[in-house]
């Protein structure tokens, strides 16, 4: 199958979970629930092979490239899918096929607990695996309450920690999108150390997929806003006929075009193969635009919807909240700007 055909195929299969026209009833129903997502749907997604996207074919995976992964993520973003696919994929990517069939089948959910600080991509901090067992804290574990186990990362590798194991406690706080972050505290948990597969690349891929997801979020919020501009009337005219709104809408379109081009370019480059510094620079480039554009579109979407956009019952708010939740995940724009400059020092063309 050609690359393009693969991408079309995965996009089509994703659309089965995200009906066009955006039926967001399911999304609303899951908000602020305990797991924050639907394990049954998660399993269906796993059945599509979406947890083995990046596993090589020789290891039984789909062996798809980042372009296919990003195409999928963008569709999921357009539908605000709350199932933590990108996070689960990160765990699989770090562990490889050895993660086990139950995980790939979606019947056992393993989520990465990699973050300790407020920002950045440092997966080493927070826990230590000393003699007395694994101790410390990982924070901001997305959709943690739905996990059966966590892939806890540290300087020396990772540990697979069962959610119910001795010495493990989890405290959750809601996120704007109706999901949550877990704070995972570990006090002398016994767990075996596992080697992680190319963790820097794995985190970069998650950041890129998150950028693609944000692209889907922002594009859909923009389309909703255009629809509203076409029909909402004030002063006896559709507000989309007012030039200042037209020009601002054009500016959003411009940012979205830049973001889409960036996602495609970076995914293509990663698939073609680049060195580590260039890979990180490209991913940072894209994540900056993704975070900034999603937030820009979100705030203009609220503004252009007027008062109704500030109500929770209007769907545009769901997109705003999703942008707020994901903009800083896998590194904020500020972090990625600094990393871009560090990874690729300026040299005039």
């Amino acid at each position: 199958m050609t690359d393009l055909a693969e991408i079309e195929m995965i996009r089509d299969s994703a659309r089965a979970f995200v009906p066009p026209g955006g039926d967001l009833v399911r999304i609303r129903g899951l908000r602020f629930g305990e797991a924050g997502f639907d394990p049954a749907i998660y399993r269906q997604m796993a059945e599509m092979g979406w947890l083995m996207l990046r596993l090589p074919e020789e290891e039984g995976g789909l062996g798809l490239g980042m372009r296919a992964y990003c195409a999928l993520a963008a569709v999921l973003g357009a539908g605000l899918v709350p199932e933590p696919l990108i996070h689960a994929n990160l765990a699989v990517r770090l562990l490889g096929a050895g993660v086990g069939d139950a995980v790939l089948a979606g019947t056992r959910i393993v989520l990465p607990a990699w973050q300790a600080g407020f920002d950045g991509l440092d997966l080493a901090a927070g826990v230590t695996g000393a003699a007395g067992g694994l101790s410390g804290e990982k924070r901001f574990v997305y959709q943690a309450a739905g996990a059966d186990a966590f892939l806890v990362t540290g300087a020396e590798g990772g540990w697979l920690v069962e959610a119910g194991a001795e010495g493990v406690s989890l405290e959750c706080e809601g996120t704007q999108d109706g999901g949550h972050f877990g704070s995972l505290r570990l006090a002398g948990v016994s767990a075996e150390r596992i080697d992680l597969i190319d963790p820097a690349a794995a985190l970069d891929e998650a950041a890129l997929a998150t950028s693609a997801y944000l692209l889907g979020v922002a594009e859909t919020a923009f389309e909703m806003t255009l629809d509203y501009l076409r029909v909402r009337k004030q002063f006896d005219k559709p507000i989309g006929s007012f030039q200042s709104l037209q020009h601002r809408a054009t500016d959003l379109k411009m940012q979205l075009a830049l973001l889409r081009a960036g996602v495609d370019m970076a995914a293509g480059a990663l698939d073609a193969g680049v060195d580590d510094a260039r890979r990180s620079a490209l991913v940072s480039q894209v994540k900056v635009r993704a975070a900034d554009t999603a937030m820009l579109v979100a705030r203009e979407a609220v503004q252009m919807h007027g008062a109704i956009g500030f109500t929770d019952e209007h769907d545009v708010g769901l997109f705003v909240r999703k942008a707020m939740t994901l903009a800083n995940q896998f590194g904020s724009a500020a972090f990625h700007r600094r990393r871009f400059a560090a990874m690729q020092p300026y040299a005039a063309a």
Partner: protein, 387 residues
């Protein structure tokens, strides 16, 4: 009247004396209710504070002393606001004292003043505002809620929306169409409506902060006495505009921005970016915007103090302050890292709540005249640009 004579004292008090007294009063009397809440508290929660202010005679800082207000100068009003901000005192249900009171004092009959003003001061009447409608937002003159005179009663039908804390209120004032045959601004009247009447239905609307701050209010053959009309029939548009009055200055006050700036500073320290020179550069830009807005605000306060007319250019401040407030909140989101995604304040400190500030800042560019409409008006009225 003891209340009267007691209140007269603010006129002769120095600004600094007044500030000290205000601060001491707040610290001594603020009840055991949340401080620094970004969400508006409901009356059920904030009532003890309203009552404490009522007992002190401090519900209506701007009203003249003879009507039971404090008769504060513009500067002292500002001090009062600042001291409340500094302490993090909850904002009371203030549509009665801030909006309706001054309007009744200017346009109401003696009977209306006698009937309504004391009950605002005592907290017996909590007012809501019934201006906007689903199809009359930016274009307020398009209101369709109708009031028809039937004998000695107005019969009201229609729907209002975005009534702030409408579910706390027992009275609402509305703009209603009383003449459909004239051009749209000319056929509107201003009417007072008790909310416990048959036919009045309130539906709270949850906002993005998951807070039922705004309400829709439906009127279905609601009947109120003819005397509930304020001003003359069809004079409602004039009053709606007059209602702005001082408000047009205070809505541009830098306080939302300066308090957001303090939150940004705290958050920057918390997440460890306060010393990053790039952050400092951006922070200084925001600080300077707040500082210059403050300078501009003070020129208007000075005009109020000297009784000078406030021109249409005053809405420059509302535009700048609301957009500045938003920019500060966006910087909070940008630096907040993972905490920016949280639904509730990080570590339960309401001042560390990037998402809360971000969301609370959104409607400030929409309500009180959307910034787009205000820019249209400025272009025509102040810059004299052609239609």
């Amino acid at each position: 009247m003891s209340l009267h004579s007691r209140n007269d004292i603010y006129a002769v008090m120095s600004d600094e004396e007044f500030r000290a007294q205000a601060r001491a009063f707040i610290e001594a009397n603020y009840p055991d209710i949340p401080r620094f809440s970004q969400k508006r508290l409901h009356f059920s929660q904030s009532k003890p504070w309203y009552m404490a202010l009522a007992r002190k005679g401090w519900v209506a800082p701007a009203w003249p002393v003879e009507h039971g207000g404090m008769g504060l100068s513009a500067t002292k009003q500002l001090i009062w606001i600042e001291e409340n901000e500094r302490f993090g005192a909850a904002r009371i249900n203030d549509i009665g004292p801030v909006m309706l009171g001054p309007l009744l004092i200017q346009f109401g009959t003696d009977a209306q003043k006698a009937q309504f003003l004391p009950k605002i001061l005592s907290g017996e009447h909590i007012w809501a505002q019934g201006y906007s409608e689903p199809n009359a937002g930016s274009d307020l003159a398009a209101v369709r809620t109708e009031a028809v005179l039937d004998g000695d009663e107005w019969v009201i039908n229609g729907q209002k929306t975005w009534a702030t804390l409408g579910n706390d209120a027992n009275w609402i004032f509305i703009l209603a169409r009383t003449d459909k045959s004239v051009k749209k601004q000319a056929g509107i009247s201003f009417i007072l409506v008790p909310m416990d009447l048959p036919g009045v239905t309130v539906r709270p609307i949850e906002n993005l902060e998951m807070h039922d701050e705004f309400c829709e209010v439906f009127f279905d053959d609601v009947r109120v006495p003819r005397e509930n009309l304020v001003g003359a029939v069809n004079q409602g548009w004039t009053m709606a505009k007059a209602l702005l009055g001082h408000e047009r200055v205070f809505i541009g006050a830098p306080r939302l921005s300066s308090s957001a700036l303090a939150r940004l500073d705290l958050l920057a320290r918390k997440v460890g970016v306060a010393d990053d020179p790039a952050f400092q550069d951006r922070f200084t830009r925001l600080r300077l915007d707040v500082a210059d807005l403050t300078a501009l605000f003070e020129t208007y306060i000075e005009k109020l103090r000297h009784g000078e007319a406030i021109g249409a250019d005053v809405s420059i401040m509302k535009i700048f302050q609301s957009e500045l407030y938003q920019r500060i909140s966006e910087e909070m989101m940008a630096i907040g890292g993972a905490t920016a995604a949280l639904l509730e304040p990080f570590e339960h400190d309401p001042r560390l709540h990037a998402a809360g500030t971000y969301l609370m800042a959104r409607p400030t560019t929409i309500f009180g005249g959307s910034n787009e409409v205000l820019r249209n008006v400025l272009a025509r009225m102040v810059l004299d640009l052609p239609a």
